[in-house]
């Protein structure tokens, strides 16, 4: 039908499973940070709004984290099952970095997650806060290692190749490879911004329905401060990341820009829109702005950017896709910045929580961060093609020797299972969001005190508004 080869199916499977996966750790990273801030603010100010928000978001965090764990487990095995030649070749480096991720991050997250989610009444406040911070730290460390590994595949250094296998010679050079600092900053910031828009969207949903209370307002306010301050910072980081890519992977930039050839000494224009055609080697229907390409990419008005035609056809990434995925990412980024600016204007006028047009925008911007993250990853990963380790190993030489039948069966299985399970999971997350924060969740039990041995998870009958058991227990029954 489509005449797909086993390699295409393996690539589709990897793209599919990792695209689903990345959504969860991105939210995990953002929410873990948010939860640590909320708990810290509660401990500092004793304003119970923060504690209520902590409990509200920790339930959503729990569902999201579970999905991240199980979809991540698949990733840890997929390198070997589907990409055995890559694993054998690059395992001494990428496998080592992945193991460091497990040792320093995954165990830290998992070890403290139980106490963070279920230990509110079992340990003292300080220890609970410490657990939240450890989980949050774990998510950051995890980001560090996995992006070191990915960046090394983009801009490899610090190795030599002996008998067809990578031998690391300088680990600092491997980890702190040229694209790593930019990619790490860009992704970590993206996760925080994406989560902020998710949180802001939840608040807007409630405000639009007339559910206005201090907790909801705090959510919107914190989210919009993030949008105002961090979204522009992200644009600057993205700009540096782009310059770095131009230096190390010029073919990727040429494909992103749909830029096929340089004429004489003419500065590179910026193609706003168009349809890059890989066969015809040109970008159709291009709307160009002269000089702007040179200005953005070289920060000058005369320097040229390398063009796609200067690379052999078999070394060119697919411009049709990444021209657009990049524009989706950048466009959403611009919208986020505008949302932040508008929020500041409304905040000054005192109508942040009541301007319906703005609240609708905030609502619809909810998934914008996650879509931008996916679009950004599509850009950088498809832009790395045809290489799996840039300049060293082609993707076509990296796969295992599975048959088309096997690959089709497993791909179909993953598609069915992921769509059915994870859409239900996202549904549960949305349902929790719609419940909204409750007041006085996790208030002190009548006995025990900070740092004291408490009676194990006694029902918080005094504190709970409906007299049922511990917080999420009572929630389950309501849902």
């Amino acid at each position: 039908m489509f005449n797909l080869q086993a390699l295409d199916l393996a690539r589709m499977q990897f793209a599919f499973t990792i695209s689903f996966h990345i959504i969860f750790p991105a939210i995990t990273l953002g929410l873990a940070g948010y939860l640590a801030v909320l708990e810290g603010l509660w401990l500092k100010t004793r304003n119970d709004t923060y504690r209520d928000l902590y409990h509200f978001w920790s339930k959503i965090f729990a569902v999201n984290f579970g999905m991240g764990v199980v979809s991540g487990l698949v990733m840890a095995y997929q390198f070997g099952t589907n990409w055995s030649r890559f694993s054998d070749f690059a395992g001494p480096i990428t496998g080592t970095l992945l193991t460091y991720e497990v040792l320093t991050a995954f165990f830290l997250e998992a070890g403290f997650l139980g106490v963070m989610l279920f230990g509110w009444n079992r340990v003292g406040r300080g220890l609970h806060f410490f657990s939240t911070i450890m989980v949050s730290l774990g998510t950051l460390i995890s980001t560090f290692w996995i992006l070191a590994s990915n960046s090394w595949m983009q801009t490899p250094q610090g190795f030599e190749i002996v008998n067809g296998q990578m031998i690391p010679v300088d680990w600092l050079a491997v980890i702190f490879n040229p694209s790593f600092p930019y990619r790490l900053m860009h992704m970590a910031t993206a996760a925080f911004v994406a989560t902020a828009f998710f949180v802001g969207s939840s608040a807007a949903w409630h405000l639009l329905r007339g559910k206005d209370n201090p907790a909801i307002r705090t959510m919107l306010s914190m989210a919009m401060w993030m949008a105002l301050i961090v979204a522009p910072i992200q644009a600057v980081i993205g700009d540096f990341h782009g310059l770095n890519t131009l230096k190390h992977q010029p073919a990727k930039i040429a494909a992103i820009e749909g830029h096929w050839e340089n004429h004489g000494n003419e500065p590179t224009p910026l193609i706003l829109f168009g349809l890059p055609d890989m066969k015809a080697e040109k970008t159709r229907f291009a709307v160009e702005i002269p000089y702007l390409g040179s200005l953005i990419l070289t920060h000058s008005l005369d320097k040229q950017v390398s063009a796609l035609k200067s690379f052999a056809p078999e070394d060119r990434p697919n411009s049709t896709i990444i021209f657009w995925s990049f524009r989706v990412m950048a466009g959403l980024g611009m919208l986020m910045i505008l949302t932040g600016l508008w929020s500041l204007w409304l905040r000054k006028r005192g109508t942040l929580y009541s301007n319906r047009a703005f609240l609708y925008l905030a609502l619809w911007m909810g998934p914008s961060g996650l879509i931008a993250i996916l679009a950004g990853w599509f850009t950088t990963e498809i832009g790395r093609q045809p290489w799996v380790v840039y300049g060293l190993m082609r993707t076509a030489d990296a796969s295992s020797g599975h048959s088309v039948t096997q690959m089709s069966i497993t791909l179909a299985l993953f598609v069915v299972v992921y769509f059915s399970l994870f859409s239900v999971g996202l549904g549960y997350m949305m349902r929790l969001v719609r419940k909204g924060p409750k007041t006085n969740e996790g208030a002190e039990p009548s006995h025990g005190g900070p740092g004291q041995q408490r009676t194990p998870a006694r029902p918080l009958s005094a504190a709970d508004d409906n007299g049922e058991g511990e917080y999420s227990h009572s929630l389950n029954k309501e849902i």
Partner: protein
């Protein structure tokens, strides 16, 4: 040469997989035992005994995969490709049961049964295919030019399927004795009644695997049944018998902790038996840990971190179990 890095890494990975088998074993076992317990409230308790720790338990499986990738990339790439379908099915089983932990408590009453089934089915499928993968691994993997050279269904043999069933029994016993330790009242009594029959079935499957393996693998038979090896290894089967006897006695006198601890011993012995059969091959029948090792630059770099970090991991893992120690009751709403 000084330090035998591949040897140390083999020990670390063996330790990691052992931790996984023990820890995820009892929590998979709880899923396997779910069908025996009908009440929602009892099922809540069963799940709550592992809700705070299951994620940490599963992390040992990720460590097993990742450490193999880093320290023995050849083994990682060959074994995982050879066991492609059983491993993918195992992962999908783990996905179903993993999401069930959260989803089950978030679902409406009318929908909860779906997640109960996902938990049961996922646990069974994951365990079964883990066992199948193990059986196929023992059977050996054909390698040419550092790549898997067998067919897509080579793993499918009567022996590997039997290993799948055997692992279900082993994990069920782990889950059962874990629940004896962590619960009370009627649920504990039900587990109590299950423990003896499960232990006897486990004895039977251990016996069958122990006979079947050397019968079909002459090199493994030679390992066990030549002198003086026989005397060195004889304690393993003898200790299995003694432990099982102790386990059944402990169940009979209504002990709460001993059955679980003795089951751990049993699993450890079975695992040692496997190690004796295969050592030092990391891809049976012929690739040793030294053949498959990544360069010392990788193993050494990794070892520095591992030796420093693993004690911390064990420390806070133990702490987390300590925080959630004691019996889990119907009033405990972790969820």
């Amino acid at each position: 040469m000084g330090i035998d890095l591949p040897l140390i890494w083999a020990v670390i990975i063996i330790f990691g997989i052992m931790m996984y088998v023990v820890m995820d074993g009892f929590d998979l076992g709880i899923g396997i035992l779910f069908p025996f317990i009908k009440g929602k409230s009892d099922r809540d308790v069963m799940m709550n005994t592992v809700a705070p720790v299951w994620d940490g338990n599963e992390t040992w499986l990720v460590l097993g995969g990742a450490a193999l990738f880093g320290a023995f990339p050849l083994a990682y790439s060959v074994v995982l490709s050879a066991l492609y379908l059983p491993l993918i099915l195992m992962l999908i089983g783990l996905i179903f049961r993993g999401v069930a932990f959260e989803f089950r408590f978030k679902a409406k009453d009318a929908k909860r049964h779906i997640w109960d089934k996902a938990f049961i089915g996922g646990s069974l499928v994951a365990t079964f295919f883990q066992g199948v993968a193990l059986g196929a691994f023992i059977d050996g993997i054909q390698v040419v030019n550092r790549q898997y050279a067998g067919g897509g269904l080579d793993w499918l043999t009567p022996f590997s399927l039997f290993c799948g069933v055997a692992l279900i029994v082993a994990y069920a016993l782990l889950g059962c004795t874990w629940l004896i330790m962590k619960t009370e009242g009627k649920l504990q009594e039900q587990m109590h009644n299950l423990a003896r029959p499960l232990a006897l079935v486990l004895l039977a499957v251990i016996g069958i695997v122990s006979i079947w393996t050397p019968m079909t693998h002459p090199e493994i038979a030679a390992r066990w049944f030549t002198l003086p090896n026989l005397f060195w290894f004889l304690p393993v089967p003898l200790l299995v018998l003694v432990t099982l006897y102790g386990l059944i006695r402990a169940v009979a006198r209504n002990a709460h902790y001993t059955p679980f601890l003795l089951t751990l011993v049993l699993i450890f012995l079975g695992y040692s038996g496997l190690g004796i059969s295969l050592w030092p091959n990391i891809v049976p029948p012929s690739i040793s840990i030294w053949d498959a090792a990544s360069p010392p630059q990788s193993q050494g770099f990794l070892l520095v971190g591992a030796l420093f970090i693993i004690p911390f991991i064990l420390g806070y893992t133990f702490w987390s179990y300590y925080v959630f120690r004691g019996k889990v009751t119907h009033e405990d709403g972790y969820h």
